[in-house]
Symmetry: C2
Subunit: 347 residues, 2 copies
């Protein structure tokens, strides 16, 4: 970095090692480093001040060794935690960004970041909604819901939609988008409180507590006497196996994740794939990275709903980078109510 | 049926009962009935003389009780076997068909049939190829190969294609179509002889005997060091599980059947579905019934290949309806060499 620039004090959250399983507080530590507050001469990098950092379920070490995983890594030893966030541009060597712009996407858990991979930055064009929303409802989780539901599931008005892990940041939005287009929507969640919120605040037609249903097939048959057209699957495992028994002809299943399987040494066997043939069902796994080109379409759909108050959204904020590690750890034992955001600075 | 028409003697193959599992000779018996050789006054039915009957792997009783199965039923007690076939129109009440037309699709195992479901009849427009081909290469198995490969798998030149059960009537054609469009093609089959024929006569790049490979994952890695783009799956079970470990990013799997699972009391568990998410894979089950509107497109593609001798195709004919039951039974222990056809009459 240029030695002739102004130097700034930069508080950081670093990883102690690669993380195996859900992160714990002892996996992270604080550091004060210094950062040049100038973009290197001639580079196209962008210097930002981080405002809001996102705590997301994907930020866990995944035990299963999958070659060529494309997920973002939570951490490398002695490096800052990497994650989604909203930031303000302080200086830019890139023609697409200028001082004062707000941006979102991949950044680091520190006060200031020099962003080299500027192709992974989005300029925030709409600032009449809270900037922090670009970590959740208007960010990666929102795009995941949008891409999986609209692009993979081709929903039609009146169809029967099931959302597993519906209380999660993605599931909440899938359910609400499905309701807004006139579908019948049922969600599963892991507690009575969440079930009540799904049916109350988020407007799901029905919801059930998957931890209290000893027979998932029976629970689905009770909620879907006509069967399921669309399954937005976050869970995999036994829930997916039960869903397969309840799909309708030409049903579509979008698989955004399989949280029931990540921490198992050996994944559970899915026994009901014969339904694929008998009922002509499509299952498709996806990651949001393939769909960011649709971000403008997503905003066109969702921003009006937000402005009209048609989408419910709750944030849980932790104030200050020093509260970041406990906020991140908390989402894996669901300490948070709503989207967990770490506020580094408000502007 | 009208009592005033001319009556004909009609030899039939009837089912003794519902069939559980692979059909056996004792499940069928012969009968001589009489049939009016006139179409009932004012009806839109079509009276045909059956020429070629098709013996297909789907013609088994399937133990698994799947609600709303849409498969054709092999049999009802004391009724003629139902199946695909080629026939000649003797008389027609339907404006789309006239005396002397050749037709194919669903008919019965008897000399003469009065076809009421005329919407399931195709008129044969091209008679410069053997009529019997419309039971196989140009009929349901051919359409299954075409729809699954082109419509579901969106193949591109140079892609890596795996066909399980490649020696079957569908698999043979999928492999040849894939080769004709410039893909790399590997098939699995159940004997050394079949493997040799796949690589020799049918031009597969590679093939292996799945009964001699104790590690299917290793066999696939040997044949596909770069991974698999397209899997045309006829087998399911362990083979599908091994395929999932070897798929490339954005791979596509068309599931035409799961023959490894039909006769099991409890289907095997598939453990590697996490690959769907990590590699953004699509799996889709299908049945040919949804794709018959593409029959003209299929003929446009395949007829020139047949006329130019670019597709290898072998038929095994059983002469006479009286040899039908043993021919049908034979395909389940693979007594046939090539497509098994029963010749009722040659014109």
């Amino acid at each position: 970095m240029a030695g002739d620039g102004e130097e700034g004090r930069n508080k950081q959250v670093l990883a102690r090692d690669y993380i195996d399983g859900n992160p714990k507080k002892r996996d992270m530590y604080f550091n004060i480093s210094s950062i040049s507050l100038k973009v290197p001469e001639g580079s196209k990098e962008v210097l930002v001040k981080n405002l809001y950092l996102s705590c997301d379920p994907y930020m866990r070490g995944i035990k299963a060794k999958i070659p060529n995983r494309l997920f973002l890594f939570l951490c490398s030893p002695f490096k800052p935690i990497v994650g989604y966030g909203v930031a303000k541009v302080l200086e830019s060597g890139h023609p697409d960004f200028k001082k004062g712009d707000f941006v979102w996407r991949v950044t680091k858990w520190e006060e200031y970041s020099l962003i080299t991979m500027t192709e992974s930055l989005f300029k925030i064009q709409h600032t009449d909604v809270p900037l922090s929303y670009y970590t959740g409802l208007l960010g990666m989780p929102g795009m995941t819901a949008y891409a999986g539901f609209y692009e993979l599931c081709s929903p039609k008005k009146g169809e029967y939609v099931f959302v597993s892990s519906a209380f999660g940041e993605v599931g909440q939005l899938v359910g609400q988008l499905a309701k807004l287009m006139g579908c019948y929507v049922v969600g599963s969640a892991g507690s009575k409180e969440k079930v009540d919120i799904l049916k109350g605040k988020f407007g799901f037609d029905e919801a059930f507590n998957c931890k209290e249903e000893h027979d998932l097939d029976a629970a689905l048959k009770r909620c879907f006497p006509e069967g399921i057209d669309i399954d937005f699957d976050n869970v995999g495992g036994k829930m997916l196996d039960a869903v397969l028994l309840n799909m309708r002809f030409h049903g579509r299943i979008a698989v955004a994740g399989m949280i029931s399987q990540y921490n198992l040494d050996q994944p559970e066997g899915i026994r009901n794939l014969l339904s694929l043939v008998y009922k002509r069902i499509r299952i498709e796994g996806f990651t949001v990275y393939d769909y960011y080109h649709l971000f403008p379409n997503f905003l066109d759909l969702v921003l009006p709903y937000i402005r009209e108050g048609k989408i419910a959204y709750v944030e849980d904020t932790a104030e200050g980078l020093e509260n970041g590690p406990s906020a991140l750890v908390g989402i894996f034992s669901v300490q948070n109510v709503g989207k967990q955001v770490v506020v580094v600075a408000r502007e």
